[in-house]
Symmetry: C2
Subunit: 243 residues, 2 copies
């Protein structure tokens, strides 16, 4: 009887391949199957990061998100399409594991921090051996690259998805010591309005593509437009303790 | 004239040396000076993690915290001792940089996330070239090792230092979707009481020494005592979206 393979959920960090961990690089160099999420027709970000680190004979398994167009899905249609996608993806991975092949599924940032991988983990953990490798989160790259020492002493850190409604954003922003706002994209104008209402625009830093080619960092107050890629961020660093 | 050296603030991750980044390992293998914080008479955690990765001829610079005894400091005495310590540490590092030697100052976890390094950065950045390497945070090791997919969809993540007063902890806990409580140590009983008042004990996981020898992970409800090392954590993971 074939011994089932192991699924590795490999965090590959924020963009610079050198910000991969030694463990991630070791697993990638050995795994016979390299799996990755992508939008149809695009090379996924995680897959781009690890290029050249995989085993030379690794078989590729591309898991393609079903959201290909900009047409609006109803919530039910969307949920059902995504659920079907994760079911099918887990089956494709399981077929390799059943045949005794280890699978390295690469994830941008950290696999358990807002990651698609969590939906695969929840389907396969327990049935198969699953080993998760943490990765440098995008927010750590953002505060490093913007040279912003971030949390001091007893600062409370709040991480806010920009997808939340304006009034929720403002309420959270007002009570925050130190703030990261993720998932900007089309939420950018709303997030900027929220920061204005919370009186935080002067402290805020906009970071795009941290640690990657095309990196852009500026004070939010100096950003001239409201366009931002989904994986950009806004940071409000701690004000520090003078020690 | 000698060209001044570069200060590297090197995040070395949560404990397992394989969770160092490729960039951290490269910098350590080349830096002529390996600097690290420690308590008097103890080998620092970051220094232990990198053992064997440094340049074989690297000179060691140990920066010893002034807090050696358990006797209570007044706030002023404490602040002044710590300020003096950071001033002296920055001077020791600057002397190497002035002589043209690069210095790698190793930091547990991420240098800009509640790190002593931030006080060195604030003193030397601008005068010297400073390059910061992000590291895997202890909380990422904790949620990975406890197999807890952590933040889903539009979950708000709150990171709370256990040093805060009980009433602040409870207020923050009550509004949290997803929670990390750091800096437990002697604050453990207070934090547990806060979680009880916020109705979160059943969802909470206690993690000690994640990714290190002696790792311990259990449901908070099953932890029999209130003793915890300072670098232990409590996690309250997201409840997920069924997709």
């Amino acid at each position: 009887m074939t011994v089932a393979g192991t699924l590795y959920g490999v965090g590959v960090g924020p963009g610079d391949p050198e910000l991969m961990t030694l463990k991630a690089a070791r697993i990638l160099s050995r795994a016979p199957v390299l799996a990755h999420f992508r939008k149809r027709g695009q090379l996924g970000q995680a897959r781009s990061i690890v290029d050249g680190y995989q085993h030379p004979a690794a078989e590729e398994l591309a898991l393609e998100y079903p959201m290909t167009t900009e047409r609006p899905f109803s919530d039910d249609t969307y949920r059902s399409a995504v659920t079907h996608f994760y079911n099918e993806s887990a089956s494709s991975i399981a077929a390799h594991l059943d045949a005794g092949r280890d699978v390295a599924l690469v994830c941008e940032g950290d696999p358990f921090f807002y990651g698609s991988f969590m939906h695969i983990f929840n389907r396969l953990n327990g049935t198969y051996r699953v080993d998760v490798v943490p990765g440098i989160m995008g927010m750590a790259a953002a505060w490093t690259r913007s040279k912003s020492p971030f949390t001091y002493g007893d600062d409370v850190l709040t991480v806010l998805p920009g997808t939340l409604p304006l009034e929720v954003l403002v309420e959270r922003m007002k009570t925050a010591d130190v703030l990261v706002i993720m998932k900007l994209g089309s939420n950018f104008a709303k997030v900027r309005q929220g920061l204005a209402e919370a009186g935080l625009v002067e402290r805020a830093i906009y970071v795009e593509r941290a640690s990657m080619p095309g990196e852009a960092i500026m004070r939010l107050a100096e950003k001239p437009d409201d366009s931002a890629p989904y994986f950009s961020m806004i940071l409000v660093p701690g004000r520090g303790r003078r020690l």
